[in-house]
Amino acid sequence: MASALFYILIFPGFLFVSVFGLAAEYIDRKLCAKLQNRVGPPWFQPLADLVKLVAKETVMPVDADLTIFRLMPVVALTAAITALLYIPMWGPQALFSFQGDVIVVLYLLTIPTLTFFLGGWYSRSVFSMIGAARSITQLFAYEIPLFLSILAPALLANTWSLSEMTVFYGQHPRYGLFNFAGFWIALTALLGKLEKVPFDIPEAETEIVAGSFTEYSGRLLAFFRMTINIEMVVGASLLAAVFLPYGLHLGPLVGFVLYLLKVLLVVALLSLSRTVFARLRIDQMIDFCWKYVAPVAFAQLLADLMLKGLLG
């Protein structure tokens, strides 16, 4: 019982993931600033932002549906944190695992987007509503490629459990390389999920102010910001676990350090991409996803199936 509480509240649960989320935000922002040839924020910036938001007044828009408006940020944060518990971090075995946990993680990762939608929609401001509609529209475009690109390695490994997948690729490291295309697809989809440039369409500042979050302030906004940070960490961890499952057998400590490095690598790739592209339009984004991303993801799936067939 005590250990379960420890897992959930401290490590790898709430406390750890919050700190890691803040660190990831710092790295993202600092790296972005560096890439833009400026100094960027100091190391404590995400923490200061968070504390400040929590201590700030939370305005409730009169027209909003207050229950949903208040509930959504909490749901989002909970879902994002829960997802991390299924991802292997210091060894091939995650804290919790069962057959089908890949699907659970993917669905848990979908929940924040749905909460952005609902929260934005029920704030009843035009900008939030357009932002919300865009979030959900975009969801349909990147979700399928993301599912496909994660399922392909799972098919090859013949398991629906993340931990078992890690074990399998630990034994057959060369197959991991085979999923290279899938990695890029998943990375692209992750950009869409995290609503970062070039896919930051749902919160495009110059068009719809801040999208779904336009009406959120204070504590509730802090929840949403944490969610996005944690989503980034969880998404990156998922990619690390599925596509970069190396070195986990070297013992918990080395494994854990490697895990951190891998996640940060993915975060760095995300920041890089957000500095070198322009934001696409929603129709271009959907076009791009269906014309290029989804077919490649599908091809990856077929390739994995074929490889599995060859291996028997």
Partner: protein
């Protein structure tokens, strides 16, 4: 060649370059010589002709007679647009523009600056609230 990520090389280079950011405000960066910032008034030179007041587009400067051939100037920094027309208009070079630009104040009454006549040195003090 049209491709995505055209700026990637340049962007990655920045990673290994020093940022373009100046160290201001930790290291003071003087404005170029001739920058028009806060005005300075030399009371001894002023003859009280008020040409500066007449030409000021923002009514920011007031010359007051405080004694026989003694004048003090009050400059309202909240109004002065740093155009230095008063400097051009002054027949006696009693006014000049300095490059001082750090004029921010939390208290608006401190934005009124009076250059007193009786002091030998050029000295400015915040105006007492009128």
């Amino acid at each position: 060649m049209i491709r995505p990520g055209k700026m990637i090389l340049q962007v990655l280079q920045s990673l290994f370059q020093k940022p373009a950011t100046t160290r201001y405000p930790f290291v003071k960066a003087p404005m170029p010589k001739g920058f028009r910032g806060k005005l300075r008034f030399t009371s001894e030179r002023c003859i009280g002709c008020r040409a500066c007041m007449r030409d000021c587009p923002a009514a920011a400067i007031t010359i007051r007679k405080v004694g026989e051939k003694k004048f003090e100037a009050e400059i309202d920094l909240a109004r002065c647009i740093s155009c230095a027309q008063c400097v051009d208009s002054c027949p006696r070079d009693a006014l000049e523009a300095t490059p001082e630009f750090e004029l921010a104040q939390l208290d608006p009454t401190k934005l009124k600056v009076v250059f007193h006549a009786n002091l030998a040195d050029v000295e400015d003090e915040p105006a007492t609230k009128t």
